[in-house]
C-alpha cells in the first residue's frame, strides 16, 4: 500500500502531537538559548488543538486533514511558528486532491508547504531557521521517489535529511527570527524551529513505516 491515505495523515499528525509533547522541554530549552523560550509550549498548544480538531471533525480526505490542521495552528499557536507551520500545512492540504493521493502528490504538497514558509517568512537556506531542515527534507523526499523508493523509504530519507539540516544550523549566524538579534552570539546553537521540523518529518516516516 503506497498511497497517502487519510488514516496515514491522521496518524502522522497524531504522531507529531506526541513527539512535540515529548520534546517540548528540549524545544523550549533550545529557544531559551537564542530566542524567547516558548517554542516547545507554542507547538505543544498547537498540536493538542490539532488533535482535538481532527477528532471533532474527522476529515474524510488527506488534504482536508492537513488544511484543518494548518488552520488550527494559525488560530492557536501565535508567535512566528504558528503562521509558518500553519501556512505550510494549509498550503500542503490545498494542494492535495482526492482521498488517496500518490506519493508524488505528497511531494507536491510538501513543496507547496515549503514555498509557503519561504514566502511568508522570507528566509532562505542558511538563515538558521526551519527552512534549513525543511528544504533538504523535501529534496531528499524528491530524490528518493526519483530513485524509485516507496513512501516509507522516501519519508525516512526526508526525516534523516531534516535532522541533518537541523544540526547544520548549529554553526550558523541567524539572519531571520528572534535569534537574529543575537548576531554572532547565535552561533553554536541549534535552531529550535529546525529541530521541530525534523520532528515533523520523523513523525511522517514513522507513520508511513507502520
Amino acid at each position: 500500500m503506497d498511497t497517502v491515505t487519510t488514516d496515514l495523515v491522521l496518524s502522522w499528525l497524531r504522531t507529531v502531537d506526541e513527539r512535540v509533547r515529548e520534546h517540548a522541554d528540549e524545544l523550549t530549552r533550545l529557544d531559551s538559548a537564542i530566542g524567547d523560550g516558548d517554542h516547545g509550549s507554542n507547538l505543544h498548544r498547537g498540536f493538542v488543538a490539532v488533535t482535538a480538531a481532527l477528532t471533532r471533525s474527522s476529515p474524510s480526505a488527506p488534504g482536508e486533514a492537513l488544511t484543518l490542521a494548518g488552520r488550527t495552528l494559525i488560530s492557536t499557536v501565535g508567535g512566528a511558528s504558528g503562521p509558518l507551520y500553519g501556512s505550510a500545512l494549509r498550503a500542503a492540504g490545498k494542494t492535495l486532491d482526492g482521498v488517496e493521493p500518490m506519493p508524488g502528490e505528497l511531494l507536491q504538497a510538501l513543496t507547496a508547504g515549503l514555498e509557503a514558509v519561504r514566502k511568508l517568512g522570507g528566509a532562505v537556506p542558511g538563515d538558521k531557521t526551519m527552512v534549513d531542515a525543511f528544504t533538504p527534507a523535501v529534496e531528499a523526499f524528491a530524490a528518493a521517489l526519483r530513485a524509485g523508493s516507496g513512501l516509507p523509504a522516501a519519508s525516512a530519507a526526508a526525516a534523516d535529511a531534516a535532522e541533518k539540516g537541523a544540526r547544520s544550523t548549529i554553526p550558523l549566524t541567524a539572519r531571520k527570527g528572534r535569534a537574529s538579534y543575537l548576531g554572532e552570539r547565535s552561533q553554536g546553537h541549534e535552531d529550535p524551529g529546525a529541530v521541530s521540523t525534523a520532528l515533523v518529518f520523523r513523525a511522517l516516516a514513522d507513520a508511513a513505516a507502520d
Partner: protein, 333 residues
Amino acid sequence: MKKFINSPDTVVRDALFGFAAAHPDRLCVDVERGVITRAERPRAGKVALVSGGGSGHEPLHGGFVGPGMLDAACPGEVFTSPVPDQMLAAVATVSGGAGVLFVVKNYTGDVMNFEMAAELAAEDGIEIATVLVDDDVAVRDSTFTAGRRGTGATLFVEKIAGALAEQGADLAAVADVARLVNERSRSFAIALEAGTTPAAGRPGFDLADDEIEVGVGIHGEPGRSRETIRPARDLAARFVDSVLKDLPLSSADPTIVLLNGMGATPLLELYLLFGEIAALLEERGVVITRSLVGNYVTSLDMAGASLTICRADERLIELWDAPVHTPGLTWGG
C-alpha cells in the same frame, strides 16, 4: 520558579479574569476570544487603534486600553504574539467605520499574525493600516534580517496616535503620526537579571553575580554583549550614548523621555538612574520636555531598565499632553 500562578498553561487566561475583575467599569475583557476593549461601545467615525503582542509586558498593551489611547488589545500567550482570530475579533468589536490602525511591534511572529489578520479584515471590507514599531538600537537594522525590535516607543506611538484618533483625525493621518513617532524614537535596554517565563521555569539567561546583559530585548532574548556591572552613573552614559548615536538631538528639539523598568527593578533605582541620565542629557544640551519613570513595557520579572527618547515637536508634545484614561497611563481632564 516561584510565581503567583495556578499552572504555566493557564497563566494568560487566569490573568485576564483578574484584569476583568480589576477594571469592571472601564474595560471589557473577552477571556474566551482573548480581547480587551474599552467598556464603552466604539464611537462612529473614530479611527480605532488595535494593538497586541505576547503577554508578560504589562501594563503594555491591555493596560493602555481606554480613552485617549487604544481601543483594543490582543494579549497573546507569554512572549508569544497573539493569533489572527484575536485581532479579527477586536476589529469586529471596535471598528467604528473609519478604519483601524494596527500598532505592531516588529517581531517576526507579531508581524505575520497581524498581517494575516489585516488581510482577512480587508476581505471583510474594513480598512486597516499598520504601523510597525522598531525602536531598539541594540539590533542592527537591515533588510536581510528581522530588523530592529519594537520596545518602549510602542507606548509613545499608542499614546500619541491614540490622542489624534480621539480628536477625530482620519486613518491616514493617525497612521502618519504613528509612523512619525516611531521614526523619531529610539530605545536601549540593560538587564541585571533575566526574567523567567512560566513555561520555561528558569531565567532566559544566567548572569554571574557581577554580570549584566547589555542591549537586551523584552523577551528574555540575551543581549548584544555581556559586561561587568558598573555604577549607575557609568551605565547611564551607556544608555544615553547608545540612544543618541542613532537619534541625534539638538537643544532646540523638544523630547519625551521614558525610563522604563523591566518588571523587577525597584522604583528607587529607576529614579536614581533617571537622575544620572537627566544630568548627562543636560550636559549634552538635550532638553527633557516630558518624562515618564516607571514600569510600562516590562519583561516579566526581568531586573533592568530601558531608555526611550522621542525627538518630538510642538504638535507631538500637545498630543502627548492630551487626556488619557487607561489603567496604566492616566492624565488630563
